[in-house]
Subunit: 178 residues, 2 copies
Amino acid sequence: MTKKSYPLSKVYGLLEPGPVVLVTTTGIDRPNIMTMSWHTMIEFEPPLIGCVISNRNYTFGLLEVSKECVINIPSVGIAEKVVGCGNTSGEKVDKFKRFSLTPAPPALVSAPLIKECFANLECRVVDTSMVSKYCFFIVEVVKAWIDPAMKNPQTIHHLGNGNFMVAGEKIKLKSNMK
Amino acid sequence: MTKKSYPLSKVYGLLEPGPVVLVTTTGIDRPNIMTMSWHTMIEFEPPLIGCVISNRNYTFGLLEVSKECVINIPSVGIAEKVVGCGNTSGEKVDKFKRFSLTPAPPALVSAPLIKECFANLECRVVDTSMVSKYCFFIVEVVKAWIDPAMKNPQTIHHLGNGNFMVAGEKIKLKSNMK
């Protein structure tokens, strides 16, 4: 594992720009991967994340049972694999094999990290009160990883129907916001 | 008003890439503006949006009372004003005046649109069950507007501490995802 531990207090900066992410869960006979865009930070530290995982997705049942997942953040370099994971169901397909993605061992949860993603957030489900109504899970990040070898990774952001925006230039403004 | 009505079924494509937005509410003696990054789509249509509005923000109380807001999406051209709105409190400052932003009349809610933003989503609060625990409001978009004169607006995306990513190039991938 060439990734290094990342401070939980900085996790919000990875997710609040709205990247497409890959959610891994442990499956019945293999782990699964789901592509997700509907997520938001809920709290800074410990980092809480709210995410919509439809009950039409195979991941929904796996997450309900295991109560654990990893939120993996890909860069544009593996955009085709990200879309491939979104176009297939883990019920029929081993997505790690199909898309040549590499499972890496987590520290605190059961679901694997995806090695090819530049950041990985190990999460535990902490609130399911909005699941029946909105398929909205609240998870807590218990461990975060970053790949120091990937400088300035460009995230991808879904605009609907397979159109994506690729992260562009960075600017610094005089903000008091955290 | 040079903006045109925008289909509610397409609203998710504006918000799921994670832009920084400006939330307007009606105030006691003037409308207010808040800068927000913590939001997610919850449902396609009617579009439901979940957003975290801290109870330390002046907007929190205004939204609790009025139950209505407008989510305005700015482009990088007014990034300094967006950060300015995030650095000040509406309790003391008339942000429309301070930052030379122009209120425009809404169709269905009480809060004003911001003319300088390329898209405006008129919203009503529909679920407050997560407000006491997480300051998490669920709002329904009841009317959406887009500025057809602003071609290819570049949204801004907060990375923490005043660092922003500006929306870059667009790519099209073969996706079955909505």
